[in-house]
Point group: C2
Chain length 243, copies 2
């Protein structure tokens, strides 16, 4: 069937991300290793975007031909998966769990947001079907463990983590669209305002909301708003459970 192709691709990705990687007994010494390859890819993506990441480019960066890369990585998709997990994880051990679940999740979300800000390409690299690596899972672990003892079920704890990461991604994407300079809200408002000038009558509610928002230029308004709403919602449920 055509369904076993994605499966074997996924299996290859799992092998690559989760190891083990026994070093060969015979033959010439490998000049590269997965960590170096991932680092090179991340560096290129950080600096020039994911579009610049090609087999040739990364190989050149490492001083080999592109075909040499295929000795380490089955294909470009797996390369990117390696880069993603390298860029994401593991969850920094310096951020020890401190405070209640709310404070912990707040710190967790902030850390994830900073991470996406540092590696904007990770957003586009994590759409679609993919295999989670150890790094990504360690973040998941941290979020779920922050909710231990809150009375939420296991599924609910994981759903909460997914919910938070969704918000992080949404904000990171908005920030990315605005570019490194200038706050997203202002930029979004500017382009929207332009469109409203010519097509405003079709979007009365938006026009009104935009006019009302024109004054406030709070930097991270959308971030704090969404995060607080989610945490409030979780608090409501947790309170109900514990009563």
């Amino acid at each position: 069937m055509s369904d076993d192709k994605p499966d074997e691709a996924a299996a290859a990705a799992v092998r690559l991300l989760w190891g083990p990687h026994p070093k060969p007994a015979r033959g010439p010494r490998p000049t590269l290793d997965l960590a170096r390859i991932a680092r090179a890819g991340i560096a290129v993506a950080d600096e020039s975007g994911l579009a610049e990441v090609s087999m040739q480019r990364i190989a050149a960066e490492l001083g080999v031909t592109k075909m040499a890369l295929y000795r380490y990585v089955p294909g470009k998709a797996e390369l990117v998966a390696l880069m993603v997990d390298g860029a994401i994880g593991p969850y920094p051990a310096s951020d020890e769990p401190v405070g209640d679940w709310r404070g912990q999740l707040h710190a967790w979300a902030r850390g994830l947001l900073l991470l996406f800000r540092r590696h904007p390409w990770a957003l586009e690299a994590t759409v679609g079907l993919r295999v989670m690596g150890p790094g990504e899972l360690s973040w998941m672990e941290r979020a779920v463990s922050a909710l231990d003892g809150t009375g939420l079920t296991g599924a609910e704890r994981m759903d909460a983590a997914l919910l938070l990461s969704g918000h992080v991604r949404a904000i990171a994407q908005q920030a990315r669209a605005a570019g490194p300079a200038g706050n997203p809200e202002a930029q979004l408002g500017a382009v929207l305002g332009e469109l409203m000038q010519t097509h405003g009558e079709q979007f009365p509610a938006l026009t009104a909301a935009l006019a009302s928002a024109a004054g406030s230029a709070d930097q991270d308004q959308a971030w704090d708003f969404g995060l607080d709403r989610i945490l409030d919602g979780l608090a409501t449920l947790i309170d109900a459970r514990n009563r």
Copy 2:
């Protein structure tokens, strides 16, 4: 220098998406139009995924050479933007605003989710920098207008819309990863469970959560959970504002 290139690209996209498109006075009749092109692209993407969308493919679908497409669309990015806005909008007029803000937002989010289910490729097509078209804005308009009169500021109403759409995207992506068959939770649990078997000791909280979640096989658990949490959070704020 290099910063005006994205700007002019964005301007081209705005022209394309927002018109106007005056029909030429002289010359041969165009055999195509933007709507037909968008429809062809959407059809291909729906059926075979975004990767199958190439200039050649779409042109062949329309019975012309690929270069003819460039008479209508400045490049592939703009083609995809056209497809996205065509697939998304406008917000269906049949879904009249009914009920309180909560019910309206619930219906809105559900509608958006169904849309992403119908056009899974729209997820990958809407990461990164992009220009919103009329269709996308009409959805935004609907969500913002649902929050009219709740006491929220304009910026907050828009932030709420962004928050909800973030959750929709997160769920849609998870559903997409699981494929059309089988519910996402089970599939996620299966692959996670496999990894836990070999690396479980590194992720104790996840292992516990997974074990606890093994029994419940609720289909749309994550969807309802996140949506309810967000709406609860909004309700908390709205209540506070109105007191």
